[in-house]
Symmetry: C2
Subunit: 222 residues, 2 copies
């Protein structure tokens, strides 16, 4: 019964995700679902991305958190239109779903956005099963989490369009092996890997170029 | 309907948790549910704990992961009886539940264990709602995750019997504020806080004394 109910929930979510996707496509927006553990640096990555790309590439952000509006405030300070979803106010969900994103979209001026980042709740597991109508998925891992994460959370990494490995500035002070991480990622995914530090700015170039290329590929298409 | 089904699942889990708790109590075992983000250092903490306390304090470990048996293997190398639950084999669950722990208990010699650590799936959200029949809950956070985690995951921290802040060796190379972390923890919990580094061994003393005191309080009681 548990599985049956979950399947029904996922089916409803999929239908809503299709609606969200259609609305995004009409507006010429590329949406990126950003998934990662608590503290992997998802918001810091978006701040750095905004600092360089916005408003040349017009960004928008939907922030998902169980509690607090801190993350949306951080993006607003970067000049990016951002709305916060506090999932504890809608039942404490451990992940965003398409209905929450649909509500958040109504609070943004879609005509002003080319690339919309949807930062999921800090959780490397549950967000993986719930499509939000996004075009792309980015998984953000970080050096202090260890080089075994793709092996231990294979379903999440397998669905990534790109993987960011954040906090490479901590490589010298941890036991992290870049070769081991890359190997365990390759076992489940062919997605491009961007090792970088959102804190120091090291390695951001490849990631930023990728983001901009996605806009060119998807957005404002005839 | 979603909420109703969840309530039913939680009620079944609660009943099984009572069974587990009774079995543990009969065996004079103190069980500790260890919750934390992916890569917060839960297994490393248990390795260090085993290295000092075991077998003077006779430990046992149940490891929960979505995939791989690596964590149990790490503990077995420390000489501790350990069994692995791979949740992907039972539906990919993002948290342990009491039925999984009950099955794992059947694979351990309970009479040889005084303190049983149950390391949950790496997830700061979902494990919080599912009791496993444990006597105590430890939340493991880590410095690179940032000092805002208790504010952003309040329900998880509010239910902690103790909080470990791991990776304090990285304090000099991060922007983490110990005062901010302690303040945000105090807003939701009065649990003791143990800042330490499982990697360097710094600060382990307080944590180890706490573990040993729990045995004295709970275990082998008349």
């Amino acid at each position: 019964m548990r599985v049956e109910v979950l399947e029904r929930i996922l089916k409803v979510n999929d239908a809503l995700a299709e609606e969200v996707r259609a609305a995004l496509d009409r507006a010429g927006i590329v949406a990126v679902n950003v998934i990662g553990s608590p503290g992997s640096g998802k918001t810091a990555l978006l701040e750095q991305t905004a600092a360089v790309l916005h408003p040349r590439v017009r960004l928008g952000v939907i922030e998902g958190d169980i509690a607090t509006t801190r993350d949306a405030e951080r993006l607003v300070r970067c000049g990016v239109p951002a709305v916060q979803i506090e999932t504890r106010l809608v039942g404490g969900a451990c992940h965003l779903d398409a209905s929450l994103v649909r509500m958040a979209l109504a609070r943004l001026r879609l005509e002003e956005i080319e690339v919309l980042f949807v930062e999921n709740v800090g959780n490397l597991v549950c967000p993986s099963a719930y499509g939000l109508g996004e075009h792309l998925r980015v998984v953000v891992a970080s050096v202090p989490e260890g080089d075994d994460k793709p092996a231990k959370y294979p379903a999440t990494f397998a669905r990534a369009s790109a993987v960011v490995l954040n906090k490479v500035d901590l490589l010298p002070v941890t036991d992290f092996s870049m070769a081991a991480f890359a190997e365990s990622l390759r076992a489940v995914s062919a997605a491009p890997l961007f090792p970088l530090s959102a804190r120091t700015g090291e390695g951001l170039g490849g990631w930023l170029a990728w983001v901009e290329a996605q806009r060119a590929d998807w957005g404002r298409a005839p």
